[in-house]
Symmetry: C2
């Protein structure tokens, strides 16, 4: 039987003479443990679990007589359960500690992907829930959460909802429940959203931070959905990918999931260690069911390399079995003048996610949201922002303060 | 009220003129969100949640007119729940993505540590369970797990148990249950261990890999303990630190937990990004309840910097509130000739953890274990290995094959 494989590509620095031996030792050591010394009968039995070296490619000279090379290993599907723990431990468990090595690519076969539910809503489902079929979506980030009374938080939500935000998300560092439980916030904000709807025609959905013990997250997510939560914010890499996968796959969790990239930089930000950003914040988030992936935009101070951002966007969107498409939310440093660049670079199926670009508006957070919505509408009409600013005072002020984007 | 703080130290590369502003923006941005523009009454209310800059220290020139500096921020305890997700998201969530930045130190106050159960057994409890009061412990690693029938696995266990191993651990990549469930292995191996006990006088404890969905891990750990599991192996960073914390804190989980470092290299291995190894594999593992911490030894090809290894060992052992001491298991590249170096560097409260150094023995795995036990006894008597090799043929063969250590 020819097994299906998960192929992992590692970028390493090593002696050229050592590469093939190293590749073989990975293929055997991280699967069946031993091979050459096995009797033939045992080889036949374990062959379907044995890794293979698919390629070793030297592409540049390194330091001290070393070379840079890509090693590509195939791991039989039969070795994996449906957990991300099995995937990560196998393809980058021990190896993550083995010198200068970075996991740069993962090729997952359809037979593997078919085991995962993926995003429950994806771009189409989220658009349908929000009643926004075509334009880029606007997500507003609470400026302050910790230490605020429920009344203050409610007022803060109201300001944002009145600006026309489609989604309003908690600060990801909001874990304490000293002044209000997440359920209380869900209920209170929904009332505010309905009031704002009468003015804006847009019902803002609140993305509540999913917190608590990891082994109780499914129950907590269900409780929040039962309380009316319309979206969940989740710190995937602070909790672990399996937590996302299990919460997202639970049919009783009826809200879409917005994946926050907290901690992800510890995995992807180095050049020669860790895991490529497109895997961390694109491929695996989508596989595990993130409807929205927040990641560093190319515009602010916190950025990805352009090619990493492009690969990430592709991972969220390319045809992969039955997986729905995750919505990208390139974030950090987003102000209204950047909306044309965002749509140019990421298309209309994008979330414009802003905090400082809303709360720092000279007219306050409501005007900040209105400026973004005016910019979005202007891009949809194909007209320059400057033209839209003639009839939108909030947008005019935003362009004066922050200028136009790249 | 003067709040207690968690202090985090970040090593960054930045413009010197930018450092204080950056530090202040971290202290505010990752706590209360805004400060200077607040009215005095609000400041009084939120002060107990507001971060503080404890220090900014430039210590070297960097590239392109930048400097290397340590920024030290205090985060009020009031902002944290008992989850590691709250800790990680706050102190290294967004920041992990913010340019050249590494979390190099975490100072946790006793009031925070007191919220955690820590290791249930620690060094004393594990010694008591194993009936080994003083000498270094020997842990043997299965060479092959995947693709083996239960009969083959059982024979493999028997060989190792007969060599006198105190602990025998699963391969960490063993997730499939195709040929035997973990419960079946626990039961089968226990029978083998009891048989070997009659020969060796040492009852080998089996460390079974704790696998399955993360939200069901506590139940799975309890099931394994009910089936008789004497130790649990756990891939902490493939599942997430909170999974360790919650499993370890559950009173019904009666087995000690051996933390495997799989995936940890993706967090610590880079020089200027990610998180220091002593935090990842020392401080947080102990806080979350690892009785044993496996990490790269200084002797093999997979290593830590010497100072990182020393800091890690200190984090496992230093007096920290009520926390029991975790047992270090410096691993990779361990052979019998290294036992004196291991004890010299890490003391007697150490686990000698070997795979290749046991299975690669010319006389097989049983002789491999015997060679290690002879080396351990020799070190306890304070005599050179060469002397012990006069009366231990397995040790003599091991010294011929691998030599003596560093």
């Amino acid at each position: 039987m020819q097994p299906d494989f998960i192929f992992a590509t590692y970028r390493v620095q090593d002696r050229e003479a050592n590469l093939m031996k190293r590749a073989e030792s990975i293929a055997i050591g991280l699967t069946v443990g031993s091979w050459t010394e096995l009797p033939q009968a045992r080889k036949d039995e374990v062959a379907r679990h044995c890794g293979v070296v698919q390629g070793v490619e030297v592409y540049a000279a390194g330091d001290d007589g070393l070379v840079w090379a890509d090693i590509r290993i195939g791991y039989p599907l039969a070795n994996f359960t449906e957990t991300m723990a099995a995937l990560l431990t196998t393809v980058f468990g021990k190896l993550s500690m083995d010198g200068v090595i970075r996991l740069v690519r993962l090729d997952l076969p359809e037979t593997y992907i078919s085991r995962f539910a993926g995003p429950k809503y994806g771009v189409d489902g989220i658009r349908e829930r929000l009643g926004v079929p075509e334009r880029p979506l606007l997500m507003s980030i609470f400026k302050s959460c910790i230490g605020q009374s429920l009344d203050d938080l409610r007022a803060h939500f109201r300001e944002q909802a009145q600006g026309g935000a489609d989604l309003i998300k908690d600060d990801e560092i909001f874990f304490t429940e000293e002044y209000a439980t997440p359920e209380q916030r869900v209920i209170a904000y929904h009332t505010e959203a309905e009031r704002a709807y009468e003015q804006t025609g847009q019902l803002a959905h609140y993305a509540v931070n999913l917190t608590g013990p990891v082994t109780e997250l499914r129950q907590q997510a269900k409780r929040l959905c039962d309380a009316g939560a319309e979206a969940l914010l989740f710190n995937v890499y602070a909790y672990g990918l399996d937590a996302l996968r299990e919460v997202a796959a639970d049919p009783a969790v009826t809200a879409p999931i917005i994946a926050h990239p907290a901690m992800a930089g510890a995995l992807y930000a180095a050049t020669h260690h860790g895991i490529a950003a497109s895997i961390v914040l694109g491929q695996l988030l989508r596989l595990c069911g993130a409807d929205v992936a927040i990641y560093p935009s190319p515009y602010g101070s916190v950025t990805l390399q352009r090619e990493d951002g492009d690969a990430l966007l592709q991972a969220l969107r390319e045809a992969r079995g039955h997986l729905r498409i995750s919505l990208p939310a390139p974030s950090a440093g987003i102000f209204p003048g950047l909306v044309p660049a965002l749509v140019r670079d990421a298309g209309r199926d994008v979330i414009v996610n802003a905090g400082g670009g809303i709360h720092g508006h000279p007219g306050g957070a409501t005007a900040g949201g209105q400026a973004f919505r005016a910019a979005i509408d202007s891009v949809m009409r194909g007209e320059p922002l400057a033209v839209a600013a003639l009839t939108s005072e909030p947008l005019r002020q935003a362009l004066v303060k922050w200028g136009e984007g790249q």
